[in-house]
Symmetry: C2
Subunit: 244 residues, 2 copies
DNA sequence: CGCAGAATTGAGACTGGTCAAAATTTGTGG
DNA sequence: CCACAAATTTTGACCAGTCTCAATTCTGCG
């Protein structure tokens, strides 16, 4: 399923930080040296190819993951195959926590991806002795929940056009957080992934992108790249303030 | 806006528990006596009428709340008035956490409701000295996120009929958790609230309930009460296994 | 170069939305 | 307890945005 071999040789590169920290945003950022040592002890490294599965919905929730590089999609399935992507994860994000004994979603790599893996049991032990860890985890959880609630508003109340604009702006903001350009965003996932994330079909995603292109709001140059030509207008549409 | 007067006279009634605990499920359940004492010190009590606002989206996030009795709806607004209810809260649940300085949603009572109120700053202080509190909060957050992801699947990929069946079953499960009957569930919220929760209109909610009634899956007796006549069939529809 | 998968485009169908009216329930004052 | 007004819910007719099915074009890769 995946290759659990140690991929990174040098562990100290990131200074007083966990290996998987990115721009000080990962859950392991700002830990004490002892706390980091504990995290390092239980950590495993993982590198997987695009479309490979990290874990599946319903499997025993044995590990929690932190994303070092790449992109991961988290999805849930309905009995007849309908799929909803409940989130994308980018460097610095984590995923795999579950209130039950089994994972609530499937996690798959969108592009070649490297991860830190923490056995759930041992992380739970660590969090007892290291309040800062728990503190960070809680903060990240609150942020995740907030983001999930935004997505509910999108799924329940926005039009296809508004959904796409919102999505492109989200990609731009996440790129900015990682220090990447904000006007030219990478769209590493397929139309099917975008559709399953926004509660649409691939045809509607394609048609809507074409329509945004014709309105000179975006440009679709090389595949997988979108240029945001008019971010102000994108924002207006995403907020439901404009129809054009 | 609301009456911040102390409503409950007796604080010790619940034994070694926080006052707002319900069936051992509240975030304050299972605390040490000292931890409870700390919580009690910063706690305020609140009783509000149906439709009254606890706080509004965008206001400074000064307090966190735990529900003692009643029902609260949490909603987000789009610029033009479109609304999405991102969750209902029942006794034992909490709400009001925000990653930002301001609330991400509006909280309103669905029925007369009593709440415990905790100043956010002081709860943050308490959580540093009381690991168990943080532990509980994190667990509840993980559960909330899990639940939010279920709701994304519902909003993005389910039909109106499936949404309604899922919703009725959710109410039934929550009633069961509180020790209430599971076949006859209270529907304390208006059709508009149900519609805004499920990403539908009031007309579609009404039509779909009528259709479920005609199929002898539910019965609508007294207003605000729904009898689940065929829970097995409800489940099959909610899982996308049946069309009837 | 040729093939397979992905993305786009087109035509028509359908679920759920909109607008409007009727029925029911709720609240209020006598 | 009743009468009446207001609000909510239900029902109906019609419409539109998105989906489905199908064909075509594009892209990547051996």
């Amino acid at each position: 399923m995946n290759a659990p071999d140690p991929f990174f040789k040098i562990l100290g590169d990131y200074g007083p930080s966990c290996h998987c920290d990115v721009a000080g945003e990962a859950f392991c950022a700002g830990m004490t040296p002892e706390g980091l040592k504990g995290l390092r002890t239980i950590r495993g490294n993982l590198r997987i190819d695009a479309q490979e599965t990290v874990f599946r919905e319903g499997e025993p929730a044995a590990n929690v993951f932190s994303l070092v590089s790449g992109t991961v999609k988290l999805s849930k399935l309905l009995g007849d195959g309908r799929r909803q992507i409940v989130g994308f994860r980018f460097p610095g994000d984590f995923f795999g926590f579950s209130p039950d004994a089994s994972y609530g979603y499937t996690a798959e790599a969108v592009v070649p991806t490297s991860l830190c893996r923490f056995p759930e049991v041992r992380l739970m032990q660590l969090r007892q002795t290291n309040p800062h860890l728990e503190h960070r985890l809680l903060d990240r959880m609150v942020a995740e929940l907030h983001y999930a609630q935004d997505q509910m508003l999108l799924l329940g109340r926005m039009t296809a056009r508004e959904k796409l604009c919102h999505f492109l702006l989200m990609l731009s903001q996440r790129a900015e957080m990682r220090g990447a350009p904000t006007q030219r965003v990478a769209l590493p996932m397929s139309r099917l992934d975008v559709a399953d994330y926004l509660g649409l079909t691939i045809e509607t995603v394609s048609r809507t992108l074409t329509s945004l292109k014709k309105a000179d709001i975006i440009a679709l140059g090389e595949p997988g790249i979108v240029d945001l030509l008019d971010i102000a207008r994108l924002k207006r549409i995403a907020e439901g303030q404009a129809t054009d």
